[in-house]
């Protein structure tokens, strides 16, 4: 399994480095949303619920841009059929695509979260960083699973971009709710730990999504 997995990951990395199709767009989009929030909300600093909402809306919408690109090269250049011909379990492709999406998300957050802290966030981020990182990690797993499932499904449709947004966003709603509510106390001036139910809710949703992805992925990528 490690041979095919590392082969797919190497190929994905090479394609992204060669085309720079996903990551720059995600980063630019997230930072643009922060600037937009600054002017439309007419606030120089945000905190609490509002800060959390803006941060997670930016991350989720930027994630959709990455999701849109996940299968584009495979479908348009015939690589997906090449992979379908190989004696490789479909779950390896699922795992590889989830890892790729996780890499996109981590790279996005490494830029977007500090940018958010500098551009918009009132309270200092330092004291909350541990909890916020945990919430980001939990949310990233769910976002990556939704992204892979929806983009695999959308890859065979003509309205791919629309499809990913229309189906992906509702599926990401439980993650958005849990992550935003969980992050709100972390981004307040009197920062404190989030209620346990929010990370638990995201973790449970991740688990359900993982089981669904494992059960359905074969049918999504095969004709």
């Amino acid at each position: 399994m490690s041979g095919p997995l590392s082969a797919i990951l190497r190929k994905e990395l090479r394609l992204e480095l060669r085309s720079l199709a996903a990551l720059p767009a995600m980063l630019l989009f997230a930072v643009s949303l922060f600037v937009l929030a600054h002017f439309t909300l007419n606030r120089s600093v945000l905190e609490g619920d509002l800060a959390s909402g803006v941060l997670w809306i930016a991350l989720l919408l930027a994630a959709l841009l990455g999701a849109n690109r996940l299968f584009v090269a495979d479908v348009e250049q015939g690589g997906l059929e090449g992979l379908m011909l190989a004696p490789v379990q479909r779950s390896v492709l699922l795992l590889a695509k989830v890892i790729v999406m996780l890499v996109f998300l981590v790279a996005l957050e490494l830029v977007a979260v500090p940018a958010f802290a500098v551009l918009l966030l009132g309270p200092p981020l330092g004291p909350s960083l541990g909890w916020l990182t945990a919430l980001l990690a939990l949310a990233d797993i769910g976002i990556a699973l939704v992204a892979v499932l929806v983009s695999a499904l959308a890859s065979r449709t003509r309205a791919r971009d629309l499809f990913v947004a229309l189906i992906g966003l509702p599926l990401m709603l439980p993650i958005a709710i849990g992550a935003a509510r969980g992050s709100a106390p972390l981004l307040a001036f009197a920062a404190h730990a989030p209620a346990a139910r929010w990370p638990l809710m995201i973790g449970l949703y991740d688990l359900i999504l993982g089981l669904i992805a494992f059960a359905l992925f074969d049918f999504l990528v095969e004709e």
Binding site: G3, P4, S6, A7, I8, R10, K11, R14, L15, R18, S19, A73, Q77, G78, G79, E81, G82, L83, M84, L85, A86, P87, V88, Q89, E222, E223
Partner: protein
């Protein structure tokens, strides 16, 4: 496999390659029932399709490196095949910069990378000049060690390559005969 355009030749090849699932009937290939046992035959099939099944942004070396990983084949085999199909300095350039004929040669190297038992060749010699056809003959021509199922727009050339001929028309078999027993009139009738 011969037949007029739209007869179902490519569809049948895609069914045999496990890329398509049959909607009815039974399909047995290399002792496995498809589609339920597709996993048993995937490593034994090599397909040269209309599309090269390669990434345009990657080079020939990078594409074959990827397929080596998928099939558990060493990089030495990829290098040997690129030499065999005459890809020299172009092997490090992205495929989008290469001619269609050169890409087709890389696609042929990809199809035989894992030394398949069965070669499915859908117009495999298209885009190739006579010199290139000669280069790939040992890999996918009569000299290949694998069983070959091929389609070609050049019916008489295909018959000359074949032991058996299957004629298709409107997705139905209308002819199944040893190639040696067929003459030009029978082939011409298939395309009428």
């Amino acid at each position: 496999m011969l037949g007029p355009n739209g007869a179902g030749k490519t569809t049948l090849l895609r069914l045999l390659s496990t890329l398509l699932r049959p909607s009815r009937g039974t399909l047995e290939l290399l002792g496995a029932q498809l589609p339920d046992e597709s996993y048993k035959v995937r490593g034994k099939i090599g397909l040269v399709a209309h599309e090269p099944l390669l990434y345009r942004e990657l080079s020939a070396v990078e594409n074959l490196d990827y397929y080596c990983g998928l099939y558990g084949v060493t990089g030495a085999r990829a290098k040997e095949l690129l030499d065999a199909v005459g890809i020299g300095a172009a092997r490090s350039a992205p495929l989008r910069e290469l001619s269609r004929g050169t890409v087709q040669r890389v696609a042929i190297a990809r199809a035989v990378l894992h030394q398949p038992e069965l070669l499915l060749l859908d117009e495999a010699f298209s885009h190739l000049d006579p010199a290139a056809i000669e280069l790939v003959q040992p890999l996918i021509g009569r000299g290949a060690e694998a069983t070959r199922v091929l389609t070609s727009h050049d019916a008489m050339a295909a018959v000359a390559e074949a032991d058996m001929v299957l004629g298709l028309r409107a997705a139905h078999p209308v002819l199944l005969a040893p190639a040696a027993e067929l003459d030009g009139a029978v082939i011409a009738e298939l395309y009428r």
